[in-house]
């Protein structure tokens, strides 16, 4: 039995596939691919499949990760080509690795955000200059008010016509996850001018001390 970590893109129409549906979608894709997937034993056997980090509905990604377990040896190139032959529009496997890090090692993720609106760059700067940015976070325990400001690492902000393009690093993983749309929602509320979210794209997943999750 061998474990493989598959890095895949989830873009375009595929951003509307919820996390729960993505699991079912991948199970079916692997079944179509003919790869020898390992099934759990027991009363209701199911295909072993693990997603270390969920992606929220509507956000696209270049770096999604899925772990699979095969009962027979298969080369990374065979796994890639078999999967890509059967994946739906918007899902595309880009790399197969041997898992190095564990799910609980994930600490942050980087996003590229494209917003449309009038004169957004100065507004964004004012937004970040606030001492605190209070936002409501829905958790299992109920609604919690948190301060987003220390959690946002803004790496880049660039105006292009009426677009504002941001590179943001936010906490991710089991220890505390910030959905990128929480930041854009808070910004919209702050700006008091119509802001249209063109695109939310996850670009990287990190472990502690800024090392890429691998």
């Amino acid at each position: 039995m061998t474990d493989h970590r598959i890095v895949f893109e989830k873009t375009g129409r595929a951003r509307f596939i919820s996390h729960l549906d993505l699991n079912r979608c991948m199970v079916r894709a692997i079944r179509r691919s003919g790869l020898p997937a390992w099934y759990t034993e027991g009363f209701h056997p199911h295909m072993y499949l693990m997603f270390p980090l969920a992606l929220s509905l509507g956000t696209e990604s270049l770096c999604e990760v899925m772990d699979i377990r095969l009962t027979e040896e298969r080369s990374p190139s065979e796994i890639l080509s078999r999967l890509n032959a059967v994946l739906p529009e918007g899902l595309h496997a880009v790399e197969v690795r041997t898992p190095q890090d564990r799910t609980q090692d994930i600490e942050a993720a980087e996003y590229r955000v494209t917003l449309t609106g009038e004169a957004l760059l100065p507004l964004w700067e004012q937004f970040l200059a606030q001492p605190e940015i209070l936002a409501e976070k829905r958790t299992k325990k109920g609604v919690q008010t948190i301060d987003l400001r220390p959690l946002i690492e803004a790496e880049e902000a660039q105006a292009e016509g009426d677009h504002l393009i941001l590179a943001l690093r936010l906490p991710a993983g089991n220890a505390g996850n910030i959905n990128v749309s929480m930041v854009t929602d808070a910004f919209s509320e702050f700006a008091e001018t119509p802001i249209y979210v063109e695109k939310l794209l996850r670009t990287k997943i990190f472990c502690g001390n800024g090392r890429l999750f691998s």
Partner: protein, 611 residues
């Protein structure tokens, strides 16, 4: 452009993957190379429509033709509908995301009466005139319909250009071919419709004048412009040769019947007198076991589904059912595929069949004795004895099953209080049997009784029968409820005005078009969903149209009366239905077709006997 607009609003709605298309198995073609486009519309939401087998067959069948393109369209749920109205997004098809109004054919499937107002709403969302007479002489878009409710499509006559009677595999393409030729020759809508009426199975309602007697019953149905006096449904005589897809669209979200289905047979040998499907899908035809197995495996392999349903009206009536199960069992175990047999009958449910389906997964058992006493089961020709029900439950309990669901109908012709109490007695016997079964599972049995109100349907021996009124159904329910021991038996006794509306529409005439229009105008749509249904909206519309629902639903219809569907031929003869109605009242049963031909007439299309 519409594509971007749709993408920008989908995060506002629940389950956006209902509305974005892009699933595995969808067929996308180059518009420029396509001659005829068909929008296959299911008048309910994605989750329901995507579960429909007929759509999957016809979608693949049309798309096999390189120059024809069939796409899927579903009704939006209310949240998406509000967004579409706000943003000016017209109803669109999922493959191309193009507006439905640009298609050549807008084809609906008529699966149940409560979807009729949804059809009107979808046409309006598509920005296509709802009324046929307002569509003008341009040939497209043509609004057409198929499906079981076409056996009395009269309430919808005002809204459709034509109806397709019977099985669509061949006739849909014949219709598209004719359209292709005539459109390229510059034909008008009415010229096309006159010509289309010559295709067997095509019914063009605007080519018939209906006159009524003073009492509201139909006096005459008169064809004009050379339309045929009688339209006969289409049948695919050989299922092994009929088209069947080896791939279907694989949805992202969990739909109502989230599995692939292979159809194992069409028609039914049973002749239960209340069951419309059992008559209108005749004659009985089986697919051979090797074809069933081949198609089932191909569907699982191509879609990645891990559940395969062997579907039909009564799967265990297939003469080769054990052979089919043997052929699929090794595959299903090795490939982690769960087999499901949704329509098993009580009387031929053998131990070996049970073992074979439970080999992969164990679920509850569902039986439909339909009536509580043997007398009433004989009246409805549900040829199932209490002994058989007990024998089957005993096998199931011994095999470890604990859940049994029993389905019944209230308001069947000749039903008495004794029959109602018989339901409770039968359920109690099942409970007692559980405790008396050696080797049963631990714990309590879970026996559930569900009742539905009987709705008389066209082309059944009970098409002449009145529906029992709601107040009386309520009384019978209370009687039943008091008679069961709630400790062991759960009751799900549903009653609503929906049954009355169904009974009106199922055997309705053209005058009901005004009622449908009014209900829709007042906000009625997606009324198959309880929360969307308002009884007052219907009663107001009946009053406004000057029509009495009781005339349609609660009246005995004499054998001599001309029925609104008298010009439609579903191959079961009227004399056979009258004979069966008389036998019902005499409490006489009719054996299954396999035992003895009852002479319904459906074998005319096979050129000989069914067996």
């Amino acid at each position: 452009m519409l594509k971007e607009k749709i993408g920008s609003v989908l995060l506002e709605v629940q389950r956006p993957s209902r509305y974005c298309g892009g699933e595995v198995g969808q067929v996308v073609k180059d518009k420029a190379k396509v001659d005829v486009r068909f929008a296959f519309c299911f008048p309910d939401i994605y989750d329901v429509g995507m579960s429909h087998l007929g759509m999957k067959i016809l979608y693949a069948r049309i798309n096999e033709r390189e120059n024809y393109w069939c796409e899927r369209v579903f009704a939006p749920w209310t949240d998406m509908e509000a967004v579409m109205r706000r943003e000016g997004i017209p109803l669109y098809a999922l493959e191309s995301l193009d507006p439905v109004k640009e298609f050549d054919f807008i084809g609906f499937t008529l699966q149940y009466e409560m979807s009729y107002t949804t059809i009107l709403h979808m046409l309006s969302l598509a920005q296509v005139p709802v009324l046929q007479r307002e569509r003008g002489e341009a040939i497209a878009p043509l609004v057409v319909a198929g499906g079981p409710c076409c056996c009395d499509p009269e309430p919808l006559a005002d809204f459709f250009d034509l109806f397709i009677l019977g099985e669509g595999e061949d006739v849909d393409l014949e219709l598209m071919d004719l359209y292709h030729t005539m459109r390229d020759a510059g034909a008008t809508r009415s010229a096309f419709l006159r010509k289309a009426a010559e295709i067997p199975g095509i019914y063009v309602p605007s080519l018939y004048d209906v006159a009524y007697h003073a009492d509201g019953t139909v006096q005459s149905i008169t064809p004009k412009d050379g339309a045929p006096a009688v339209i006969t449904k289409r049948v695919m005589p050989d299922l092994d040769k009929a088209y069947y897809p080896d791939h279907v669209v694989v949805p992202y979200l969990e739909i109502v019947h989230d599995r692939v289905s292979v159809e194992v047979l069409r028609g039914c040998i049973r002749g239960c007198r209340f069951c419309q499907a059992g008559f209108i899908y005749r004659p009985f035809r089986e697919k051979s076991p090797e074809v069933v197995c081949r198609q089932g495996k191909a569907l699982c392999d191509n879609t990645g589904y891990d559940e395969l349903s062997l579907s039909s009206l009564s799967t265990s009536d297939h003469s080769g059912i054990e052979e089919i199960l043997d052929g699929l069992l090794a595959y299903s175990e090795q490939g982690h595929v769960h087999l499901s047999l949704p329509s098993l009958r009580v009387d031929n449910f053998s131990e070996s069949v049970l073992k074979k389906i439970s080999a992969v997964r164990k679920s509850g058992l569902t039986f439909a004795p339909e009536a509580g006493t043997q007398r009433l089961r004989d009246v409805i020709n549900k040829n199932v004895t209490e002994e058989e029900i007990m024998r089957t439950c005993s096998i199931a309990f011994a095999a470890g099953y604990t859940q049994v669901k029993l389905y019944f109908m209230l308001g069947l012709p000749t039903e008495t209080d004794e029959d109602v109490l018989g339901i409770a007695a039968l359920a109690q016997k099942v409970v007692d049997l559980f405790y008396a079964t050696p080797g049963r599972a631990k714990g309590r049995p879970q026996v559930t009784i569900s009742t539905a109100t009987f709705v008389p349907k066209p082309f059944t021996p009970f098409a002449f029968e009145p529906q029992v009124e709601k107040a009386e159904i309520l009384r019978r329910q209370q009687l039943l409820k008091k008679a069961v021991d709630p400790k062991y038996i759960k009751t799900s006794l549903h009653v609503s005005d929906v049954s009355l509306v169904e009974a009106v529409l199922a055997r309705g005439d053209r005058r009901l078009g005004a009622v449908l229009y009014e209900v829709w105008k007042n906000g009625g749509w997606l009324e198959s969903w309880e929360e969307q249904f308002r009884a007052e909206r219907w009663y107001d519309a009946f009053a406004k149209a000057g029509l009495d629902p009781a005339f349609y639903a609660n009246r005995i219809r004499p054998y001599e009366e001309t029925e609104p569907w008298a010009h439609l031929n579903y191959m079961v003869s009227r004399s056979f239905l009258i004979r069966e109605n008389r036998k019902a009242h005499a409490g006489e049963t009719t054996p299954s077709c396999r035992q003895q031909c009852a002479g319904c007439g459906a074998n005319q299309c096979l050129g000989g006997s069914c067996f």
